[in-house]
Amino acid sequence: MDTAPANDRPDDQRQLDRSAYAEVQASAEFGELRGAHRSFAFPLTIAFVSWYLLYVLLSNYADGFMGTKVVGHINVALVFGLAQFLTTFLIAWWYSRHAAAKLDPRAQAIKSRLEERS
């Protein structure tokens, strides 16, 4: 098996022995961090991709609906497109709030402990 070259094994000086990582990975604390990321990011990704695909599909197969006028010359298609902008901004803001509250403190705690060990 090829081994990683020395200059590519990051963190040469502070490298933990590899079992330490497995130990951390198995810990309840790390499980919480992973859960807090995955349970937020995965469903949200599925949600925004579906929401975007809905927009693409409606543009394709529901032109009557998308062409409906809302105000003046502004139609449903434009409102739908602008809604994609709005949801993108909101999701970015929401994720960052979640990360600051639920991910950063946990990550920092585990990281500090790992640094003490090495």
Partner: protein, 539 residues
């Protein structure tokens, strides 16, 4: 009178002004590059700009790296000609950032060092996976480069009123030389500053045009749209989806294919991914994506004013006569809104917007060249050819030579490709990135069982299938707008391969893994997972 001649003529009147603005931009950015080059001492400086940029600075630079000629000129032109259908690009290009934000930016920042290959090869056998990552980085970047070079040739030639073939070639060569200078002298630091300057110029220029367009319609967007629909000669359906992609079942599938490629491509673009290494922490990487989403989002919102403004205020025939795919709609709009072709205001605005477009192209090609030469030097040269025994100096020197090599290849291809459709090439780069890179990035980070064989099947499978399908698509042959319009060997009906090649990339990654006898390296996955989520040991 022939509008192309007209545009060329009015351009030649403005030539001194345009050339002066171009020269000012090039000289100013070269000065920044030399200054940045003096501070570039080690590999971290060259590849990652010393990792000392703030989230805001990197957010600006990401925006400068991302908003290419395809965004600025291509989308404005697409909306001006195809109405609402052109707007899909804006939405897809923006929503795509959420994939980067939620899944890729932070773990990549935490666990990688200089290239995309660092993360792809982390748990795997280094040499085969790094080779694959390097090949895929270079292929994606060259497709993207090709689009920018072609755009530069067409645009600058038109704006400067250069019609001779030799003149056009000279422009492409000039762009190549400047881009090689940026990267070899300034490395990531110089490139980042060039991209920041460009982002500020692009946003300022776009804000100005948007303001002037809206002013003309008393800030009534409905009136603007109504005038665009009327002036387009198509009527209300100009404002509805389907004008370009709603023709038949095949074009509708093409629309879906394009939509998927756009939304999944961004998080697999190597020149975007390496930007996350220029900030010190994962938190800063997150902030930079947030800034980028804000800046890029604002810009794409303004493409509505740019595109529909061009449709409302310019003659459809003039846009087409100037450039078949509408690539010059934004500069023509600037001229019109400044007071028309014969006015001083029009001349100044045209010159300013042309300079902004030129800056846009230069900043993007610099980012692309840096990404591919970094990958060549770090993945292929240092880790595969020299098996990790190269010194830092040797590695950086390899990167500099690779820059010259890749720059030369881009210039040569750019000379031959100068009549190609810019937007199609960029969408193609997105499709290749989403098929070859994204599946392996996600599997590597989140799937315990993923193996070297899975990574190789996915990267090469996604890469080969997407390029192969394009080769036999109408982009290359069989249509008037094809690369080779006079021959026809196409059998794949779609212009964008994403609909087939992206699921195939994911499928092959999964299949390659479950049929391989190789056991995944559990300890290395533990290391990658812990580091990617906590930032422990991050560089």
């Amino acid at each position: 009178m022939n509008p192309q001649l007209l545009a060329a003529e009015s351009a030649s009147d403005n030539r001194p002004l345009i050339v002066t603005l171009f020269a000012v931009f090039v000289l100013a950015t070269l000065a920044i590059t030399v200054w940045a080059g003096r501070q570039t001492k080690d590999a971290t400086d060259f590849y990652a700009g010393g990792r000392q940029f703030t989230g805001f600075q990197n957010g600006l630079a990401i925006s400068g790296d991302y908003m290419s000629a395809a965004s600025f000129l291509g989308i404005a032109g697409a909306i001006a000609l195809a109405g609402y259908d052109g707007f899909l690009y804006s939405i897809g290009f923006l929503v795509a950032w959420l994939v980067a934000l939620l899944l890729v930016a932070e773990p990549l920042r935490n666990s990688g060092r200089y290239t995309m290959g660092d993360v792809l090869a982390y748990r795997m056998r280094q040499r085969p996976v790094r080779t694959a990552a390097g090949v895929s980085t270079i292929v994606v970047s060259i497709f993207y480069l090709l689009a920018q070079m072609a755009g530069a040739g067409v645009l600058v030639s038109l704006l400067l009123g250069i019609t001779s073939e030799a003149g056009k070639i000279l422009i492409v060569v000039l762009v190549g030389v400047v881009m090689i200078l940026y990267v070899t002298i300034g490395g990531m630091k110089g490139t980042t500053w060039v991209q920041m300057v460009k982002a500020v110029l692009l946003i300022a220029g776009t804000l100005l045009i948007t303001f002037l367009v809206l002013l003309k319609f008393n800030f009534n967007i409905s009136d603007l749209l109504g005038e665009a629909a009327k002036n387009s000669g198509i009527g209300e359906s100009f404002l509805e989806p389907g004008l370009k992609y709603g023709v038949n079942a095949t074009t509708k599938l093409d629309f879906i294919s394009l939509g998927i490629a756009l939304v999944l491509g961004t998080a697999g673009l190597p020149h975007i991914l390496i930007r996350f290494y220029t900030v010190p922490t994962a938190r800063a990487a997150r902030n930079s994506v947030n800034w980028a989403i804000g800046i890029i989002g604002l810009f794409y919102l303004m493409t509505i004013a740019l595109g529909f403004g061009a449709a409302a205020l310019l003659k459809h025939d003039d846009i087409i006569a100037s450039n078949k795919s509408g690539n010059t709609a934004a500069p023509l709009l600037a001229e019109e809104i400044g007071g028309g072709p014969d006015s001083t205001g029009g001349a100044i605005l045209l010159a300013v917007i042309s300079a902004v477009a030129f800056a846009t192209i230069l900043a993007v090609v610099a980012g692309l060249t840096l990404a591919s030469s970094s990958s060549f030097a770090h993945d292929l040269y240092a880790n595969v050819i020299r098996k990790g025994k190269a010194t830092q100096e040797e590695e950086i020197s390899a990167a500099r030579w690779a820059t010259v090599g890749i720059g030369t290849v881009a210039v040569v291809l750019g000379v031959f490709a100068r009549d190609l459709n810019v937007a199609g090439l960029v969408a193609l780069a997105f499709a290749v990135a989403a098929s070859a890179n994204l599946p392996t990035i996600l599997y590597s980070l989140f799937w315990k069982r993923f193996t070297t064989q899975g990574a190789l099947w996915s990267i090469y499978g996604g890469l080969i299938s997407s390029v192969f399908l394009v080769l036999f698509s109408p982009v290359v042959s069989g249509k008037e707008t094809s690369m080779f319009p006079d021959v026809d060997f196409h059998w794949f009906p779609l212009e964008n391969p994403g609909l087939i090649s992206i699921p195939l990339g994911f499928l092959l990654g999964w299949l390659g893994t479950i049929v391989s006898k190789e056991q995944p390296d559990k300890e290395k996955y533990a290391e990658l997972e812990v580091r990617s989520l906590t930032g422990h040991g991050a560089h």
